[in-house]
């Protein structure tokens, strides 16, 4: 079966300014996204995620290399008939109402009025915009724009949905709604390809992730195998102890900060935690909380970037 997306040595160089200064935005990207999967495209800001998505959707043209959507070259306009796309921080015609805009999008696919009306009705319910469809888009909130953006990306019942940072700028409820929609699309057998720089967004839904740094694809695989976030430090809050007594902990903890009737101690070494707990039991000190501080995606990226520079 042909994959949903296939790119071969895709490269994009931008030239800027009068002197046509060269900037390589994407270098030699070869990637396969299988049908029916959710693929997360991860990378720090400016890594080349949006460039890749714009290449796939025909907004920019590759300097070299090729890309295919369901086996059809992206040079071919008809490759986009099975595609749905939500740009980053979407912005739509302010003077149109949500309903008019969705009808307009449907018309671009050549859908007739009946088919459009039916589809739009379902989509409005899916993205929770029912009741707001008569309001001009200029008065939509950021979250509403993101949702109407999702609706327009799904108007043609696409086999492949490409979303650029679909969860950025949304509140936790909004993020969950977008995640639910992505999972639902997978249940319907569709392929979802989305970019994000937030690890937790990808963790919850992706079958596969690709990590891109400085325009180069670093690794592809399931998130669990690619990234096991290490515990950086552990923060323990202790109560019912005097200033003098806590000094006894100095050899095993890395810092002690006094708080409101409590102390916050930080351990850089996980191995010291059992010793600390044993000590509190002996001294009858109360443990309020133990919080492991895991590496964030940004930390992992930093490591990758360091490796890349070596």
């Amino acid at each position: 079966m042909v994959p949903a997306i296939e790119t071969r040595h895709l490269t994009k160089v931008f030239y800027s300014g009068f002197l046509r200064k060269e900037k390589k935005a994407l270098t030699d990207l070869s990637l396969i996204v299988e049908r029916g999967t959710i693929f997360g495209f991860l990378g720090p800001n400016g890594a080349g995620k949006t460039t890749t998505l714009k290449l796939l959707t025909g907004l920019i043209q590759a300097t070299s290399g090729e890309a295919f959507i369901f086996g059809k070259s992206i040079q071919d306009v008809s490759a986009r008939s099975k595609l749905g796309f939500l740009p980053e921080r979407p912005y739509f015609y302010e003077y149109l109402t949500g309903l008019e805009f969705l009808h307009f999008c449907g018309e671009l696919f050549g859908m007739d009025l009946e088919a459009r009306s039916k589809k739009i009705e379902t989509l409005l319910h899916l993205v929770h915009l029912k009741g707001s469809e008569q309001i001009p888009l200029g008065r939509y909130s950021k979250g509403m724009l993101q949702r109407v953006g999702l609706a327009q990306a799904l108007i043609n019942d696409p086999e492949l949905v490409i979303l650029d940072e679909p969860m950025s700028g949304l509140d936790p409820i909004g993020r969950k709604e977008v995640r639910d929609i992505i999972l639902r699309l997978k249940e319907e057998g569709k392929t979802v390809f989305f970019s994000t720089h937030v690890l937790s967004d990808a963790e919850m839904v992706c079958d596969q992730v690709g990590i891109i740094i400085n325009g180069r694809l670093r690794s592809v695989g399931s998130l669990g195998t690619l990234m096991v976030p290490k515990v950086k430090s552990i923060e323990v809050t202790l109560k019912g102890i005097s200033q003098e007594k806590i000094q006894a902990l100095k050899p095993i903890v890395d810092s002690i900060r006094p708080g409101d009737h409590s102390f916050l101690v930080t351990l850089m070494d996980e191995g010291h935690l059992p010793k600390l707990i044993a000590w509190t039991q002996k001294e009858l000190v109360q443990i309020v909380s133990i919080i492991p501080r895991k590496e964030s995606l940004e930390d992992l990226f930093l490591e990758e970037i360091k490796e890349a520079q070596l």
Binding site: F14, K54, T57, G58, L59, I60, Q61, V77, S78, R80, S81, L83, F85, L86, P87, R89, P90, Y91, F92, Y93, Y95, L96, E100, F104, C105, E107, L108, F109, G110, G149, Q152, A153, N156, I162
Partner: protein, 255 residues
């Protein structure tokens, strides 16, 4: 075809909802004022002046709106990124551009028609008759502003609104002087200068071809062959400019 239609109608909607047509009120106001002032003049003169000024203002307003709308509509789509979800659909860039242009033509047609209607009413009010010469001049004015808006779109496919506006306005001004340009080159005696002026004479639109205002006001004979030739010239010019616009637009990256 459906996509072009949808984009054209959407463009028209945008122009209407952005209150472009409000400029008509200003036109009506100016015309009323002029006719009131001219009330003192003799009857025959007054009617001619009203027609002359009316056609002149319709022409000027048409050109201004053609430039303003033409340079902004495509640029705004790119600047505000509303073009992204559009071009990610199976819509060719040429379809997008043609749709935009047709939408502008529709807007200009409505605007010109309403202004013309007002002029007819004013003339009818003073003369009591319908002047059959006016529609000919108004039609060629419409062809002229169609050429101007195509030129504005062409510049806006690769330039900023400010520069596009400057370029388009320059072309409008020079477009009315191309006959002089050619003559100047021919009289100069220098083969080099003549070559340059001739080049510009053929590249720039000869907008005087669409100027039938004087003939309409003074009821001079207008050959139908001349009108047909002017319209054909206008259409060919528009087709060429649109083709160039598509070529520029196809290669553009939307960063």
């Amino acid at each position: 075809m459906k996509a072009i239609r949808a984009i054209a109608i959407n463009t028209f909607k945008e122009a209407v909802r952005n209150k472009i047509l409000y400029s008509l009120i200003f036109f009506a106001f100016v015309m009323m004022l002029v006719s009131l002032v001219l009330d003192q003049a003799t009857v025959g003169q007054r009617n001619k002046i009203i027609k002359d000024l009316g056609l002149g203002s319709i022409n000027l307003f048409g050109v201004i709106i053609a430039i303003v709308v033409g340079i902004n509509l495509v640029y705004k789509e790119i600047e505000k990124r509303t073009i992204y979800p559009l071009l990610a659909k199976p819509v060719k860039r040429s379809q997008f551009l043609v749709g935009k242009y047709l939408g502008i033509l529709l807007t200009l047609a409505v605007e010109t028609l309403l202004m013309s209607l007002f002029l007819f009413l004013l003339v009818w009010f003073y003369e009591g008759t319908f002047d059959p010469y006016l529609p000919i001049a108004l039609f060629t004015i419409y062809v002229e502003i169609s050429v101007i808006s195509a030129v504005a779109i062409f510049f806006s496919t690769f330039s900023t609104p400010f520069l596009s506006g400057m370029f388009t306005f320059s072309i409008y001004v020079i477009g009315h002087l191309t006959e002089y340009l050619k003559k100047f080159g021919a009289d100069s005696g220098s083969a080099f200068l003549e070559g340059i002026t001739r080049f510009f004479y053929y590249v720039l639109p000869n907008l005087e071809r669409f100027n039938m205002k004087e003939a309409a006001v003074y009821h001079l004979p207008i050959e139908s062959g001349k009108i047909l030739l002017s319209v054909t010239y206008g259409l060919l010019y528009i087709a060429t400019v649109m083709l160039l616009s598509v070529l520029c637009f196809e290669r553009r990256d939307f960063k």
